[in-house]
Amino acid sequence: MFSTSILPCQVKSLSYHVEGRTLIDDLTFDLVAGSRTLVLGPNGAGKSLTLRLLHGLLPPSGGTIDWADPNKPQQHQTPQKRRAPQNHQPPQNHQVSQKHQIPQKYQAMVFQRPVMLRRTAAANLDYALSLTQEGDRAGRRRRRDWVLAQTGLTQLAERPARLLSIGEQQRLALARAWALEPQVLFLDEPTASLDPGATRQVEAIIQAIHASGTKIVMTTHDLGQAHRLADEIIFLHQGHLVERQSCDAFFTNPQSAAAAAFLKGELLW
């Protein structure tokens, strides 16, 4: 589907401070194409911050996020091809990679609290499509109507988006992100406000998006859902990356005490 890709993405010593408080501390991991990464962790662990950092909405306080260059023909990045470290020191605190500025045009995000423009549901989609997809109005309209139908919003297309119910807004946000056909799709608790039937259908949509080649990076508090959707799990706790495992391993055999307690619903505040 994509001639070139911004994946893989190397995240190195990523951290984020606000007023001397360390909210994200020294995350190092990579995101590779083809797998569904679920970011789990208790409230306040830093999941949403991590997604926003990855999506380029916040400038990291330290560390780097290196997306592959989508304009270069794809090649498997070996360690040798990566920028040779100048020395063995960890990166300076405020040395922010140029590359974290990767245009959002290859990515899309469904926010935990989606923001709707003061227009109809359909106009919200039109707006997003007009920003990213050039020319061809008819094609854009087809795509809009198609995602509206897929997310069950056709009936609501002409309603002002901000007056929809919270669940309807969440579906509209998914439709909007999906319509953009991103290479990487960030989903921040996309089914938190959905009814059981809608949750099932949205899971199916996520699977379909994944199958079409889009990288999924998602958070959820629904462990069953995580189990159903994940290839790999990144478990965050108090801003730290505590564990990174394949899905099955994480659920059957968590390495850390925090993850084990979390899975049992016994990680208390």
Binding site: R52, M109, L117, P160
Partner: protein, 252 residues
């Protein structure tokens, strides 16, 4: 005793001035004299054109100062805010010097024409519109920033979006600009010259009647101007309500 009586009757007379002014205003409007129509027409023409130009510059400028990051952005914001306090007489003087026959734009022969008044009013109200717009757009941007950025909409592209989505609040900003334009006398007096049948507008006419000592007529003209202003503001409110129906505001 005698004195007291005289004083209090004069006092009554002065209170009457204000009642009298309303009566005169009513007669002026009812009588609808050609001269008055001419003055009102010119006032509206000058202020509305100035407002249109100022809005066309001030709205995007204010939004740009709110959204774009460039060196001196904060300084520009402070400057715009300070320019809300630009004295009309100073604006009048600057435009006068520019348009004066000996000035750099003298050849255009614009001094003492309605065009000169439009230019002066524009200079006066553009900073007001820009500074207020900046604040309103900034508030909306703090809601929208992450979502729009995520959609691939940079700050520059966000300017029209935010202006559109903040349209309700911006109507008030524009009305503030309109109020300043119609109320203003210092600048248009200098660059327009208050020339009868050419550049006389409501406010300069009011100033003239005041200096003639005809306070009743001056006040009456003020009442007419306020009636005009009320009509236009009322119309703007109705338009806004009409355009607002159901858009994003919860029924209550």
């Amino acid at each position: 005793m005698q004195n007291e009586l005289t004083v209090s009757s004069t006092r009554l007379a002065i209170m009457n001035d204000i009642g009298q002014a309303f009566l005169t205003a009513f007669k002026l409007i009812a009588g609808w004299d050609r001269d008055l129509a001419e003055i009102i027409g010119l006032s509206l023409q000058v202020s509305l054109i100035a407002l249109a130009v100022a809005a066309a510059i001030g709205l995007p400028l204010g939004a740009a100062v709110a959204l774009l990051r460039f060196p001196g952005r904060r300084a520009l914001a402070v400057l715009l805010s300070a320019l809300m306090g630009l004295p009309p007489v100073v604006v009048g003087l600057i435009v006068y010097l520019m348009l004066s026959r000996a000035g750099p734009l003298g050849v255009l022969g614009l001094l003492f024409t309605p065009t000169a008044m439009i230019i002066a009013q524009c200079l006066l109200i553009t900073p007001i519109i820009a500074a207020l717009t900046r604040q309103i757009v900034l508030d909306l941007w703090s809601d929208y920033r992450e979502q729009l950025t995520s959609l691939g909409c940079g700050p520059a592209r966000a300017i029209p979006t935010l202006l559109w989505d903040a349209r309700t609040a911006l109507v008030t900003v524009i009305l503030a600009g309109f109020g300043r334009a119609t109320a203003e006398v210092g600048a248009v007096m200098i660059v327009g010259g208050n020339i009868d049948h050419v550049t006389r507008v409501m406010t300069t006419a009011i100033a003239l009647e005041t200096s003639r000592g005809d306070l009743t007529l001056a006040l009456a003209l003020g009442v007419v101007l306020m009636a005009l202003s009320l009509t236009i503001n009322g119309a703007a409110f109705l338009c806004r309500d009409w355009a607002d129906r159901g858009q994003g505001r919860l029924a209550s």
